[in-house]
């Protein structure tokens, strides 16, 4: 999964920010979201551990895969915001 859309949305956000139409994102805001994704990871792993049905495990693992993508996207955003 590439970050093209997020890059575009971040650019638009910065434009709105420069016009005073958005609230400034601080690194702590992104860190908080990263923490929330980590919380979901804990929940998903616990659910996988608790599940015996093969098809359900597959579904949960796909969710975990997407979660990892979201986490790397959030880390990228943290870097971008920290540069500002």
């Amino acid at each position: 999964m590439d970050f093209e859309n997020s890059v575009e949305k971040l650019d638009k956000y910065f434009k709105r920010l420069s016009k005073g139409k958005a609230q400034k994102i601080k690194p702590s805001h992104v860190e908080k979201v990263i923490g929330k994704l980590a919380k979901k990871e804990v929940l998903l792993r616990a659910e996988i551990k608790d599940t015996k049905k093969e098809s359900k495990i597959e579904r949960l693992e796909r969710k975990l895969g997407l979660l990892h993508e979201q986490q790397s996207r959030a880390r990228w955003l943290l870097e971008e915001i920290s540069k500002q």
Partner: protein, 610 residues
């Protein structure tokens, strides 16, 4: 009848007064200017709501001493116990504060309102306040025309104070001149009769003006001009305390049962305080003399002594009522019982919450959740399922498969009663508050919540469309078609379970991003279902008629899922703006969803990406 008579009677009295005396005109104009100032003061402070005021109020109700303190401070600053009681009713109706906290604030407001008498008696009568009023009014108009709402608010507050000062000045001047023509002390009544009659007059005057503050100023200025006796002034002040409960009573007409309880508490408290003051009027007078002598107030300064009396008897009321607070709450709860819950009626969108941005937003949010709860019940029952089975299931697919017995109910009737009525109330509320001067960010949230409600309603409608076939094909095992419909039922059920998990999670832990995983699942399942049906048709395992019905129903089902997820993503997005920005930047767009699903399908087929 009384209401119809009141206006002509007031106009007649005023006309007679104007005809009899030009000084009466000045007194009446003084009262009018004063009341106008009160209105401007209230409008000004309302512009400060949407932030500081609400946060302070929410924090203030943690304990009885804190709510009492808030009532005192807020009323002292705003010089209006009416505004404080209206805000409190509004917050109580929106469920933002407890009844105990609300009653505490009202008690505090009764103490806070006594500062008004001190200001007028100690400052207003001794200084030429009209000299301050005119520059205040001139500066205020400059501020009122500013774009920034806080500057505008400050302008209204300043103008309000300016008009209060001007009103006091005209009342003072009017009474000074009036005493040369008429001697109102002729009407002075002594003893018990005087006490009763003047208490009733004070009550009536406050009911008419809806401001005890205005009545107190009128009493103090008349007293200072020697137009009423000190004894009668005390009774008038007691009457003003009774009359002031009218504001909360009127405010409670549009409030829910909690607002009505608060208005009753206000009435009981003020009646009891007045009763105690009337019974112990002689010892109270001695106490006033004692305190006045102690703080150096001259024995003949009756205006200041009235302020002392006003403070002492309100304090006394609070001291008496505080130990009875638990009893009072119990009495209120018994007298005005919580109405039995009617799921078809809006629970939070009463007119009492209309005035303040914070209460509007919270009430709207809660009502949309109420709509969602009704919708979830209807969707689950519409698919012959039960929420308690689903929410406790380890294997949702197995639970759905096992749930075959039809849930008998009229889905159209239930939709009309529990969905459409609430949705109409939500749309009407959003339109109503949209017509008010609300901050832009608040209105954006309101409209976004209205759209959430719209998506919830669409989801219910979709389920209504597919219910007949879903029941027909899943009541008994009919082979492949039953399996297909069970897949749809299972997927909708999974979405509801995931939304519930998000709802139950600690707001500090949850994120609307969690639902992106479900969005991918829905898109992937939708494609897989279509592809499976095509294969079944090709292989003649499913006849074209059944397949067409199913494809139509699957479209309804996936629309319902998308609407439910869309609604939940908007509803559960972070409330803090910067955090919401982060979530929006990280969230998957629809085109990303499609490309992820396609890429997963290619991976499954072993194709390489172009």
């Amino acid at each position: 009848m009384m209401k119809k008579l009141l206006l002509p009677v007031i106009l007649l009295v005023l006309s007679l007064g104007f005809w009899a005396s030009s000084d009466f005109q000045e007194i009446a104009a003084g009262v009018a200017i004063f009341l106008f100032g009160m209105l401007m003061l209230e409008d000004g402070f309302k512009l400060f709501s949407g932030g500081f005021l609400e946060k302070a109020l929410e924090r203030a109700t943690g304990s009885v001493p804190r709510s009492l303190g808030f009532g005192i401070v807020a009323t002292t600053i705003m010089q209006s116990s009416s505004l404080v009681s209206v805000i409190t009713i509004s917050f109580l109706s929106a469920g933002l504060i407890s009844l105990l906290g609300g009653v505490g604030i009202i008690f505090g407001a009764n103490i806070g309102t006594t500062t008004g008498a001190w200001l007028v008696a100690g400052f207003g009568l001794k200084v030429k306040i009209s000299a301050y009023a005119l520059p205040m009014l001139a500066i205020s108009i400059v501020l009122v025309f500013q774009k920034n709402k806080y500057w505008r608010g400050a302008g209204f507050v300043l103008a309000g104070l300016g008009f209060l000062f001007l009103g006091i000045h005209h009342m003072k001047e009017g009474f000074e001149a009036f005493k040369d023509q008429f001697d109102l002390t002729r009407f002075a009544l002594e003893g018990l009769l005087g006490l009763v009659v003047y208490t009733l007059v004070g009550t009536a005057a406050t009911v008419v003006m809806q401001s005890s503050h205005a009545t107190m100023v009128l009493i103090i200025t008349a007293l200072a001009a020697g137009q009423i006796s000190y004894e009668n002034a005390l009774a008038l002040a007691i009457g003003a305390n009774i009359g002031t409960t009218i504001t909360a009573i009127i405010g409670s007409f549009t409030a829910n049962y909690q607002g009505k309880r608060l208005a009753l508490a206000h009435l009981i408290f003020n009646m009891m305080t007045a009763g105690v003051a009337l019974i112990f009027i002689s010892p109270l007078r001695l106490a006033v003399d004692f305190v006045s002598a102690g703080v150096g107030i001259p024995d003949t300064d009756y205006a200041l002594k009235l302020a002392v009396f006003h403070t002492i008897f309100n304090l006394l009321g609070v001291i008496i009522m505080l130990p009875l607070l638990k009893w009072l709450i119990g009495f209120l709860e018994r007298t005005i019982a919580q109405p039995e819950e009617d799921l078809s009626e809006p629970k939070y969108l009463s007119e009492a919450v209309d005035e303040f941005p914070q209460t509007i937003e919270i009430a709207m949010r809660r009502e949309v959740k109420h709509l969602y709860d009704n919708a979830a019940e209807l969707i689950v029952h519409g698919l012959n399922l039960h929420r308690h089975d689903l929410y406790s299931a380890k294997d949702i697919a197995a639970t759905v498969e096992a749930s075959r017995e039809p849930v008998e109910f009229d889905i159209d009737e239930r939709y009309e009663a529990r969905i459409k009525t609430l949705y109409s109330a939500i749309v009407e509320f959003a339109t109503r508050v949209g017509a008010k001067d609300m901050p832009e960010d608040v209105m954006q949230d309101i409209y976004s919540l209205r759209d959430v409600a719209g998506r919830i309603v669409r989801a219910v409608k979709s389920v209504k469309h597919l219910r007949a076939n879903a029941i027909q094909y899943t009541e008994t095992q009919q082979g492949l078609v039953t399996d297909l419909y069970n897949v749809l039922r299972t997927e909708i059920a999974r979405i509801l379970v995931e939304i519930r998990k998000l709802d139950l999670a600690d707001p500090e832990d949850r994120s609307s991003l969690w639902l992106d995983q479900e969005r991918i699942q829905v898109e992937s399942d939708a494609r897989a279902t279509n592809s499976a049906v095509e294969t079944l048709i090709r292989n003649h395992d499913l006849d074209a008629f059944m397949a067409t019905s199913f494809l139509n129903d699957s479209n309804y089902a996936y629309s319902a899922m998308r609407d439910l997820l869309g609604a939940a993503r908007t509803y559960y997005i972070e409330t803090e703006d910067a955090m919401a920005e982060v979530e929006r930047i990280l969230a998957l767009e629809d085109d990303e969803l499609s490309s992820i699903v396609l890429s997963a399908l290619r991976d499954d087929k072993g194709e390489s990406a172009p």
